[in-house]
């Protein structure tokens, strides 16, 4: 059974105070807190296993390699990939998208080809494509959304043509919480011969992912948004696609044989893992996934959905508050603006009550442009949040209205 108090016990930081108040952490879409098991796994690597991987004949190097490669297996099974070599370690979602845009894009895109993105993408799933579009002459097309923050699927289908070579789509919007119908979109995109990259940065901690069922060509996520360390994440890619792609970065580990005349490249996944990886981070990420599995994603999702509904209900008690992002399918994000109060001021007043939220454009400036607002305040949930956290949020928001709107 899911017991939120037991879960909270495992996160040391949740016992801390901020400005004399207990920490109420509602900035989980930016990054999640880490359970003790993740902290322990990282420090155990440095305490007991520290050696470089894939290089030594000595025992310690072998142990480090085993632990590192075990983390790859954990990720593989967590997202349902068929082959372990389809999992490439990266610094995070951003680097994974850059890898695909750069490596696949340079080899495959030509003048006039189209890259289809949605209006609610994070900058990480916009700018890498803009760079490659500039270099190759490809063109970026944008799937529009409506006032609720739901993608217009009729427009989406109209934008799909034989010129569409790549669909880059976020599974869950970090700014709005919208869950996009990626399964359906992947199927449609494949019908015109396009590949699909799913940005799973915000879905990986709320949804069970099966990349084979989804049939996506690429899937990316960051460890730090999944209760794991920063600086580590993963790219999943279909094996035949990854095999056909040129290396992204070059250096040690990614080669078979180097001469000054020519080098030959290592096989997957090492072809895309040049240099010494973030070994401790990968091991920590493995531990984070094991933690999530031990709690159970279905329990986590149910708990978060109930809290989000409670928060949305509470929001009605503040007439000046308008929720931004009201899609039917949404998770764990309450993005809002308040008439007469700038989000920055909301953030500062909440902070003085120990409530941590994010204010700003959330790296999704086109979303702000669409709603004609400079910024929103965003509370985002994770498995350790409680009804008391939501109550603390709204008590603090009532203070905001007292101070600003009296």
């Amino acid at each position: 059974m899911f017991n939120v108090e037991q879960v909270r016990e495992q996160f040391p930081i949740l016992k801390s105070t901020v400005r004399g108040k207990p920490l109420v952490y509602l900035d989980n879409a930016a990054t999640t807190q880490k359970p003790q098991s993740v902290i322990d796994a990282e420090s155990h690597y440095y305490d007991a296993l520290n050696a470089n991987v894939h290089r030594g004949v000595h025992k310690l190097s072998q142990d480090a390699t085993d632990a590192f490669e075990k983390a790859r297996d954990t990720i593989q099974h967590f997202i349902g990939a068929q082959h372990r070599e389809e999992i490439i370690f990266t610094r995070g979602a951003t680097e994974a998208i850059n890898l695909v845009a750069s490596s696949w894009g340079r080899a495959n895109l030509q003048t006039g080809d189209e890259i289809l993105l949605s209006q609610m993408e994070h900058h990480a799933n916009i700018v890498p494509w803009q760079l490659i579009a500039e270099q190759t002459g490809a063109v970026i097309k944008v799937i529009p959304m409506d006032e609720t923050g739901t993608l217009n699927l009729t427009q989406f289908e109209a934008l799909l043509t034989p010129k569409t070579k790549m669909l880059g789509i976020t599974h869950v919007s970090n700014a709005l919480g919208t869950v996009n119908p990626v399964q359906y979109m992947i199927e449609k995109a494949h019908q015109v011969g396009a590949l699909v990259l799913v940005d799973g940065a915000q879905s990986i901690l709320h949804h069970a992912i099966n990349v084979v069922e989804l049939d996506c060509d690429f899937f990316v996520f960051s460890g730090h948004k999944l209760y794991g360390p920063t600086g580590i994440g993963a790219l999943y890619g279909k094996k035949h696609l990854l095999n056909a792609m040129p290396p992204y970065q070059a250096g040690g580990d990614m080669i078979f044989k180097v001469t000054f005349e020519k080098s030959t490249f290592n096989h997957l996944p090492y072809k895309f893992e040049a240099g010494t990886p973030h070994i401790a981070g990968a091991i920590g990420l493995g531990a984070a996934i094991e933690f999530v599995q031990s709690v159970g994603l279905q329990h986590i999702a149910a708990h978060e959905a109930q809290l989000l509904a409670y928060a949305a209900e509470q929001a009605k008690s503040i007439p000046q508050l308008r929720i931004v992002g009201q899609a039917k399918e949404k998770v764990s994000v309450l993005s809002f603006v308040m008439e007469g109060v700038h989000p920055h001021d909301i953030g500062t007043i909440l902070d003085s009550e120990g409530v941590a939220i994010r204010t700003g454009h959330h790296c999704a400036m086109p979303v702000m442009d669409f709603f004609k607002i400079p910024a929103t305040a965003r509370a985002s949930l994770a498995l350790y949040n409680t009804q008391q956290d939501i109550d603390a949020l709204f008590t603090a928001l009532h203070r905001v209205t007292e101070m600003f709107l009296k």
Partner: protein, 147 residues
């Protein structure tokens, strides 16, 4: 909590709700744009400088209470000042919001923003209009940012 009251003084609310010298100055001979890319705040500052003296000044834009009030107070304080006096006020203001120390000379109403120094994340909000002033007086055509 006392820090919060220090930050959000009545004067700040007043200038946020009713910003002074708000709007465009059609006859401006100095102009600059300022951005705070982190929060999306933007500001246009217009000045008429005559014989090294600021004879008129206005601003428009959108921002939080701190940046709006700071811009509004700045325009009030600067109107009629020489460029040398403006520069001195800039230095004094900057010192106050970063260190919390009131400068040795009188900076007038600007002193209500001293509380900002307790909120490092908000120093940029308070400084945006002043950085924009610098750009306008140096006739730089590049929009300034707080980053």
């Amino acid at each position: 909590m006392s820090d919060l009251r220090e930050l959000y003084q009545e004067v700040i609310f007043d200038h946020n709700r009713h910003p002074r010298n708000f709007g465009k100055l059609v006859k401006a001979n100095r102009h600059a744009e300022g951005f705070n890319p982190l929060c999306g705040d933007s500001l246009d500052l217009y000045l008429i400088v005559d014989n090294d003296r600021i004879t008129d000044i206005k601003f428009e834009g959108q921002g939080c209470a701190i940046s709006t009030a700071s811009a509004s107070l700045m325009t009030e304080v600067l109107k009629g000042k020489t460029l040398t006096e403006a520069e001195q006020l800039f230095e004094g203001f900057h010192q106050m919001v970063t260190t919390g120390q009131q400068p040795s000379f009188d900076i007038g109403k600007l002193s209500v923003l001293a509380g900002v120094s307790e909120f490092p994340a908000r120093v940029k909000c308070a400084s945006l209009s002043w950085h924009t002033l610098h750009a306008a007086l140096n006739n730089s055509n590049q929009p300034v940012t707080t980053e």
